[in-house]
């Protein structure tokens, strides 16, 4: 018996069946399930999920739903910002102290200057920076986010935002994948598998990068704290900083909508498909599991990945800074060469250099930048307080408020990290879509920062 024969037979049999046979099968399946369930389930009391329903009516109401969501997001970010600031400085003091000690030890045993420099001012400094910048926000953000996830709040977010996504021609479940993107964009891209329609799934994949992942939060938090919040009274600092980060996140969400809309009107034409989304009952999250998941699976995992790229990046910067050409060094020369383009975007050459070195992982942008500014070869440890950072950037390297704002925008909009690009390629199995994800985001970042810089200069703000 040949396969073709069977297929042909099936074809002819199917044509012989009455048109509604598929519905008949599904119907008999449902009827059977209904009957069996009726026999097996007894209702012992009329008590329903009263409490759950009351909460749901509130958090998914057309009026209160979105404000509550915004409030929760702000709360998480505020907790992260205010907590991270305290811990970050403390970790920096300890780690840079260890660096001083190690350097002194190397000098004592008479190690050559280049070895001491390479190890302690290159590799170690890169690692110390990335840990002190990244660890604190992650340790607060991940558990808080996982708590909401386990509680069952995420599907409610999807419910609230469905109409917005529908208007842009995207799938309502995109808000779930967007939420996962806050943790890691690569994870967000994988999560798009819950979207059935290939068209809407591609939109979700391509726009996922517009929500800042945990690798980019530290950059935003630092800039919001050091620049935006610095001019306010100390009591308000954490609220202003958190508000700024929330604002940046909302701009990212806005770009998600714009990009989704543009995509579904151009290369990915089509209407939003209907879907059902179950609102699961609220479940009491298991605290020890949350801590385990967020600390081991998420924090350590992300931090380890960042450290793997931070160590070589530290080494590269140190080498670039120690190859002297005339009065200058290679890092400075590259930064100077990139400077005109950087200034056009309201940034500078060092920032662009940092972004090039940080393609493998966004986490190391701030450390890289700092190391180039400090001239990594000169045995200076990182500034451990906000005022020291402010001083280094503004007085030492000519930053303005425009630089800070545009760097936040650039951090939000620029190309995905190498891991995410690889994930997009694996998920779509297409070089075309992976390339588009880079071109689209980088293009947006260039255009937006160029416009803000031009407008700011036109009005004489910068």
């Amino acid at each position: 018996m040949e396969a073709n024969e069977i297929l042909a037979k099936a074809e002819s049999l199917r044509n012989g069946l009455s048109t509604g046979f598929r519905d008949e099968i599904v119907k008999s399946l449902y009827t059977e399930a209904e009957n069996i369930a009726k026999r097996a389930v007894k209702t012992t009391s009329e008590k329903k999920y009263d409490f759950d329903q009351k909460i749901d009516r509130l958090v998914t109401s057309p009026y209160a739903g979105l404000p509550i969501m915004l409030l929760l997001l702000s709360l998480i970010i505020w907790l992260t910002v205010s907590g991270a600031n305290v811990v970050s400085g403390w970790i920096a003091v300890v780690l840079f102290g260890i660096g001083d000690y190690g350097r002194a030890l190397f000098n004592q045993i008479g190690a050559p200057w280049w070895l001491t420099g390479f190890i302690w001012d290159g590799v170690y400094l890169g690692l110390a920076w990335v840990v002190s910048v990244m660890l604190p926000p992650m340790m607060i953000f991940f558990p808080a986010f996982t708590f909401l996830e386990d509680l069952g709040y995420l599907p409610r977010v999807a419910f609230n935002m469905d109409w917005l996504f529908k208007k842009t021609g995207a799938h309502g479940k995109q808000s779930l994948t967007m939420a996962m993107g806050f943790g890691c964009n690569a994870a967000g891209v994988i999560a798009t598998r819950v979207i059935d329609s290939p068209r809407e799934r591609l939109i979700a994949i391509l726009t996922n990068n517009f929500v800042p992942c945990n690798g980019r939060f530290p950059t935003l938090i630092m800039l919001a704290t050091v620049f935006v919040a610095a001019s306010f009274p100390p009591a308000l600092t954490s609220f202003i900083a958190a508000g700024t980060v929330v604002g940046v996140v909302l701009i990212g969400v806005m770009f998600t909508f714009i990009a989704s809309w543009v995509l579904s009107k151009t290369v990915l034409k089509g209407e939003a498909s209907a879907f059902t989304l179950e609102l699961p009952p609220y479940r009491r999250p298991n605290i020890s599991r949350i801590l385990y998941t967020s600390i081991i699976d998420r924090t350590i995992f992300v931090l380890w990945r960042a450290m793997q790229t931070a160590a070589p990046a530290g080494a590269i910067i140190w080498i670039l800074a120690n190859i002297h050409l005339g009065d200058s060094n290679l890092a400075r020369l590259i930064a100077d060469w990139l400077n005109p383009f950087g200034l056009l975007l309201g940034l500078d050459g060092v920032i662009l250099l940092a972004y090039i070195i940080a393609i493998p992982a966004n986490e190391i942008v701030v450390p890289t930048m700092m190391m180039v500014y400090m001239g990594a070869g000169m045995m200076i440890n990182g500034p451990t307080s906000n005022s020291a950072i402010f001083d280094l950037l503004v007085n030492g390297n000519g930053w303005t408020m425009l630089t800070a704002v545009n760097l936040m925008l650039f951090a939000l909009l620029h190309n995905p990290c190498a891991t995410t690009i690889m994930t997009i390629y694996k998920e779509t199995k297409s070089v075309k879509w992976a390339t588009l994800s880079v071109v689209m985001t980088l293009g947006t970042a260039f255009v937006v920062t160029f416009l803000t810089a031009s407008i700011a200069r036109l009005f004489g703000w910068a």
Partner: protein, 278 residues
């Protein structure tokens, strides 16, 4: 990462002949005797059960669609090693979204020794749709009715015996979060695999003319791939025009599965110590 174990309650005294032992083996599944698939609707606690059995810490978010890939882990139960495959949660096996395809392909082509369908006790009717569909594909199915505690809170009482009787397969009440009922569930699974429990899965028949068409196709499929365990289901899917099944048929994938299955039977036969009801 897998050092900490969830402590499961022991359900029998060690001296009792019914004493059973569960050892979580994490991801060390290189050498195993049996493969078990975990299917179920989204958000019914499949991953929680998976973690309880394997000792792994697969994250279990409370939203439908959290598990989008297959997770694998192992455990040892009564001296038998099992590989457990956690499938993505699906409401049915009929449509073509990626998660449903992963789940269906594994049950059909991965040929697990037994499939556990995890059901949400609070919405049994919808969950049974999937149970019925899985039972169309394979005979070795055990239903785990999870979230019994939540059902009680909601004022519902589920009778596993009634379900067992109607479905023709074992139905075991469990609470995966606390580990309650898990030993009973594993006992049923191993009995089904070893043939100590003979399942008589309920099959939904559809209209008589449809049934006739199915009966015409079944012998043809059996002739092409002798020994194929689910010719009836394949016939139904072919009549429905399922592209994936059509492809599997014309590429010869089905034939490969049958020969693989027969080799495996030879391998396992030495270990099948007890047959039939004791």
């Amino acid at each position: 990462m897998t050092n900490t174990k969830t402590v499961l309650p022991t359900e029998h005294c060690e001296t009792c002949p019914a004493f059973t032992q569960l050892e979580q083996m994490g991801i060390k599944v290189g050498d195993f005797d049996r493969v078990i698939a975990l299917a179920g609707n989204p958000n019914t606690g499949k991953s929680t059960l998976f973690n309880a059995l394997t000792g792994l810490k697969q994250h279990t978010g409370n939203w439908p669609g959290k598990t989008v890939t297959r997770a694998e882990g192992g455990f040892e139960f009564n001296k038998m090693r099992y590989k457990l495959v956690d499938l993505p949660g699906t409401y049915s096996l009929l449509s073509a979204s990626q998660d449903e395809e992963v789940a269906r392909d594994f049950i059909l082509f991965g040929q697990p020794s037994c499939t556990i369908v995890v059901c949400d006790a609070t919405s049994l009717e919808r969950n049974l749709n999937l149970v019925l569909q899985v039972m169309e594909i394979t005979e070795n199915v055990v239903v785990a009715i999870n979230l019994m505690d939540e059902a009680k809170r909601k004022g519902l009482e589920v009778d596993p015996r009634s379900l067992s009787r109607d479905l023709g397969i074992p139905a075991i009440a469990i609470t995966a979060r606390s580990g309650e009922g898990i030993h009973t569930l594993l006992g049923a699974v191993s009995d089904v695999i070893e043939g100590k429990i003979e399942t008589k899965p309920l099959r939904v028949h559809g209209t008589p003319e449809f049934q006739k068409a199915v009966n015409e196709l079944v012998p043809m499929i059996e002739q092409m791939a002798p020994g194929i365990p689910n010719a009836r289901w394949l016939a139904i899917r072919l009549l429905d025009g399922d592209a994936r099944v059509q492809k599997a048929l014309s590429t010869g994938e089905l034939g490969d599965i049958v020969s693989r299955q027969q080799r495996a039977d030879v391998q396992f036969s030495g270990k099948m110590s007890v047959k039939g009801r004791q």
